[in-house]
């Protein structure tokens, strides 16, 4: 493949995901009173073995909001952050301090769930508009676990049939500064094919 062809492939993926990120960014900005915004970091197809490295995942525990992609095709959206950033977000949404070692109750968990809902709904609405197929997020699940272990299972749908998986990575800024949040979108093989077909028409 020539470098021009490679550039075209990358541009097509960016055309697919840029509206999703833009939608999600607007929704997050409204949800957080302008504090948090998103931008497309990169879209890459990587070997299954290289997923952890591609996403800079460590073996530390992360806070995650996990949502499945509803509709005929499936996939996963995973919002990850370290506990410090999760506490900052919760504190900002609830307008009070949330200590790092504080156990979260229903209210704190709800704040994260709603963040996942808003982000993923906006994201999937844009994918729906682009593809003409309807997608929606499942109820969010908030968990603390090893991000790598969750992503590992999320990419399994693609790994069953393909040696490379598509990963869309998003960077977040809070009050204008980059923060270590990560939104990882892993489409199912069927959704990936639909996105490829759509990209080919752009």
């Amino acid at each position: 493949m020539t470098s021009n062809a490679l550039t075209n492939v990358r541009t097509a993926w960016e055309l697919i995901f840029a509206p999703a990120i833009e939608n999600a960014s607007s929704a997050m900005s409204a949800w957080t009173n302008g504090e948090v915004s998103l931008a497309l970091d990169e879209v890459r197809e990587v070997a299954v073995e290289e997923v952890a490295e591609a996403l800079d995942l460590t073996d530390e525990l992360s806070t995650m909001v996990m949502l499945a992609v509803g509709g005929a095709m499936g996939g996963q959206l995973i919002l990850t952050f370290d506990r410090e950033n999760a506490c900052r977000l919760i504190g900002s949404l609830l307008n009070r301090d949330v200590e790092l070692d504080q156990e979260w109750g229903e209210l704190e968990t709800s704040a994260l769930q709603e963040t996942g809902n808003i982000l993923s709904s906006a994201y999937l609405n844009a994918i729906t508009a682009l593809t003409g197929r309807r997608f929606w997020p499942s109820p969010p699940l908030v968990t603390e676990d090893y991000a790598m272990s969750v992503v590992e299972q999320a990419v399994m749908t693609q790994a069953l049939t393909e040696d490379r998986v598509l990963l869309c990575r998003t960077r977040f800024s809070r009050l204008g500064k980059r923060v270590e949040w990560n939104l990882i979108f892993v489409p199912s093989p069927e959704l990936l094919q639909l996105l490829r077909d759509t990209a080919a028409t752009l």
């Binding site: 073995e49 499945a68 499942s138 090893y146 992503v151 040696d163």
Partner: protein, 162 residues
């Protein structure tokens, strides 16, 4: 077929589809979800291997041997034998195979990995001496070769030593 083989001092991180071969006081770690961590050991030789296996069967697909149960275990046994291990004396500790998403995706892949691993080890006459399998949480495992210890950490739970 070429193998992903990492032999280092200190602690080696074993990524998806990789195998580490260890001797003496070397250690290796992995973070597992639905994948299985297979630690095989020859106690007399203080020689072991840890595989981070992704899928139950290669079904003829190309890929690194560590990616599939059938190819990984055969590769590990052959590699340990080539380094002086006695295949009749090998024992195994098994971890992983969680099911983390209950309602969407290839959700029994963790159990399929567990089943395939048990069958392949049985066929190779490698005895399983300890296991920490299934559930819905991820695991961070550390394999300490010289003592043949596998330490399993899960979020919100005390660590377990196999």
């Amino acid at each position: 077929m070429t193998a992903t083989l990492t032999t280092r001092r200190a602690e080696t991180t074993v990524g998806m589809g990789q195998i580490a071969v260890l001797t003496g006081d070397e250690r290796a770690s992995a973070v597992l979800g639905s994948c299985v961590g297979v630690a095989i050991f020859d106690e007399k030789k203080k020689l072991g291997a840890l595989a981070h296996i992704v899928l139950p069967t290669s079904a003829g697909r190309p890929g690194t041997p560590g990616k599939f149960v059938d190819t990984a275990i055969v590769w590990m046994i052959n590699e340990l034998r080539s380094r002086g291990a006695d295949p009749r004396k090998l024992t195994c500790k098994l971890t992983g195979g969680a099911t983390m998403f209950a309602t969407n995706g290839p959700f029994q892949i963790g159990q399929q990995n567990i089943d395939a691993t048990r069958q392949t080890l049985a066929a190779a006459n490698v005895r399983i001496v300890a296991e920490h399998l299934g559930g819905s949480k991820g695991r961070r495992i550390t394999f300490e070769c010289d003592a043949f210890k596998v330490v399993v950490e899960s979020a919100g739970e005390p660590s377990v030593t196999l």
